[in-house]
């Protein structure tokens, strides 16, 4: 109370690991259905679009359409996985199961819990990215070790998407509320960020809009790394991703504090 900065700047401690581990243990119990979701959907997209469209499209930016789309789907899949975790799963723990209230009876603080949830969402985004990377490698769509460098970028991006989802969770009164965010933010990002076709194909104003959102910047860094080259620029993109992530985690923590600790 006495220090005004302490009320808005989250100060998580290393104790957050215990919360992250709790989520990991639950996930491990549901490993099979969970991994099926992680593998299944993006691979269906990859195969359906890749083979289906690939014939029609031919090469794009000097690579086969399959390679192009694989490097996009690895980004969008991380976004979806982290968003789902930060919304449906986190909301369940917050509002349905009172898991967070239980944690608040221990030395864990709200800052620890919200940070842990964002890191956990990032971890799940990373897991989905790794599965896609494995499948893409098996299909011969990845041939360069630089692809591994995409993983830390994806982890960072998934943290951002997880934290953004937690902002929505903080405001949600029911699960239905999440549809707004999916319809107004996630789906537009998926379609307009260069995942399925190059951003340059779109009108200028749409490109500007897309670049105001984080996913396009993730694709800009990850696609070159996945396809055996270096990104032309990294820092401008990273600044956007980190900026969104930092703002989102601060806002999510403040909003969830207002909601639970009133």
């Amino acid at each position: 109370m006495s220090d005004p900065t302490s009320t808005w700047l989250p100060r998580p401690s290393l104790r957050f690991v215990a919360v992250w581990r709790r989520n990991l243990l639950v996930w491990r119990k549901l490993l099979v259905p969970s991994m099926l979701g992680n593998f299944g959907e993006p691979i269906l997209y990859l195969l359906a679009f890749g083979y289906g469209f690939g014939r029609l499209v031919g090469d794009l930016d000097g690579m086969s359409y399959m390679v192009f789309i694989a490097s996009g789907i690895i980004c969008s899949s991380a976004m979806f996985t982290a968003s789902f975790e930060g919304m449906y799963s986190a909301y369940t723990r917050m509002a349905e199961q009172n898991t967070w209230l239980g944690m608040l009876a221990t030395p864990l603080t709200l800052d620890d819990i919200v940070f842990a949830e964002a890191i956990w969402a990032a971890s799940k985004g990373l897991i989905s990215a790794i599965t896609i990377l494995v499948v893409a490698s098996v299909l011969g769509l990845v041939s360069d070790a630089r692809a591994l460098l995409a993983l830390p970028v994806i982890f960072l991006a998934a943290f951002t998407f997880g934290a953004l989802a937690l902002v929505i969770t903080a405001l949600a009164r029911s699960y239905d509320f999440f549809l707004y965010y999916f319809t107004l933010a996630v789906t537009p990002m998926l379609l307009l960020s260069g995942v399925f076709f190059p951003l340059q194909e779109l009108p200028d104003w749409v490109q500007t809009l897309a670049l105001a959102l984080p996913l396009a910047h993730v694709v800009e860094i990850v696609r070159p790394l996945m396809t055996g080259s270096w990104p032309t620029s990294i820092w401008p993109h990273l600044v956007v991703i980190v900026g969104y992530g930092a703002a989102a985690i601060i806002l999510a923590t403040a909003l969830i504090r207002r909601r639970l600790l009133r």
Partner: protein, 320 residues
């Protein structure tokens, strides 16, 4: 932990030990939307005491507890737990506190034993010592044969017992229980009472809110009655009864009871109608009882208890 507690018990001399007050609250205030829910509460709970906080729904019990635990921002006043100011000391305080919340916060994704282990991990506790402590606690609350059970498969009483066992994982110096026996059957309640008395005997400070007056009377060394955010009485249960209410209560029912009482009641007696029953609080029950019997009524006599004090101080109207 045991050591620190022991020192507290003998440390009444000048030796610098743990603070003698486990909890100290001064002029505590909380306002929601312009309504003062807690309105200048002063409270001091001694180390090793079993303290009860009673009050009607919405009186400010839970809000007071939440501020004590650092789970609600304090609008005004000062709270110290185990000598540490709140909310600044929340992390340190909660390391040494056990909390049994009003609503179930057990983790339904885990079994009984996993709940205990996960909760221990939140305190940074792991390894063989904790495992031994978990075994001991589950034994104490009779849940050893439910170790592998899912939470949804437990009865209400079992869940409460598990919640208590979980709250003791860190060998707390203070245990705070918010309506721990609400919704339990009598067997489960008595079992829980036994656990709480054992804790009390081992030197743990206990703070309890409850709606059950006989529970508070049975368990607590001292009781505060809180209403409209203020403490309106605070003392030992026996002293509260002696101080605030006539020692005897005559209960009379029936359509004629009202007029009969009106005519026969002594000028120092108090009568109160609850639904179709009349309660007469009196110091001299024999004379009145005889007179009512003479009118063909069948009054029953009992000693006044804490519930009578509570109803006198907080009123008989319904609270929602």
């Amino acid at each position: 932990m045991g050591k620190a507690r022991g020192k507290g018990m003998v440390g009444i001399s000048q030796t610098p030990g743990p603070p003698l007050s486990a909890i100290r609250i001064q002029q505590l205030c909380k306002t929601y939307d312009g309504v003062a829910v807690v309105d200048g509460v002063d409270l001091e709970i001694a180390s090793g005491e079993f303290f009860g906080l009673l009050g009607p729904n919405g009186a400010g019990k839970t809000t007071t507890l939440r501020m004590l635990l650092g789970m609600t921002p304090i609008d005004g006043g000062h709270v110290e737990v185990l000598g540490l100011p709140m909310p600044e000391g929340e992390r340190e305080v909660r390391k040494r506190l056990g909390i049994v919340p009003q609503f179930d916060t057990l983790d339904p994704d885990f079994t009984v034993i996993e709940n205990m282990r996960t909760y221990a991990a939140y305190f940074g506790l792991a390894g063989a010592t904790v495992q031994a402590r978990i075994d001991h606690l589950l034994g104490q609350v009779n849940l050893n044969d439910k170790r592998g059970a899912r939470i949804n498969a437990l009865s209400g009483g079992m869940k409460r017992r598990l919640t208590l066992a979980r709250a003791l994982i860190n060998e707390p110096e203070v245990v705070v229980l918010d309506e721990p026996t609400t919704g339990l059957d009598p067997q489960a309640r008595h079992h829980l009472w036994r656990q709480l008395r054992q804790l009390r005997a081992s030197g743990v400070t206990l703070v309890l809110t409850t709606h059950y007056m006989e529970e508070a009377q049975e368990l607590c060394d001292r009781i505060a009655i809180i209403d409209h955010g203020r403490i309106i009485a605070c003392d030992r249960p026996g002293r509260l009864i002696a101080e605030h209410i006539e020692p005897w209560v005559l209960t009379v029912g029936g359509p004629e009871a009202g007029t009969a009482i009106e005519q026969e009641i002594g000028h120092r007696d108090r009568a109160h109608q609850v639904a179709d029953t009349w309660l007469v609080y009196t110091a001299e029950p024999d004379r009145l009882r005889e007179r009512l019997r003479a009118r063909g009524l069948e009054p029953t006599l009992r000693e006044a208890d804490l519930e009578d004090v509570f109803l006198k101080l907080t009123g008989h109207e319904l609270r929602d």
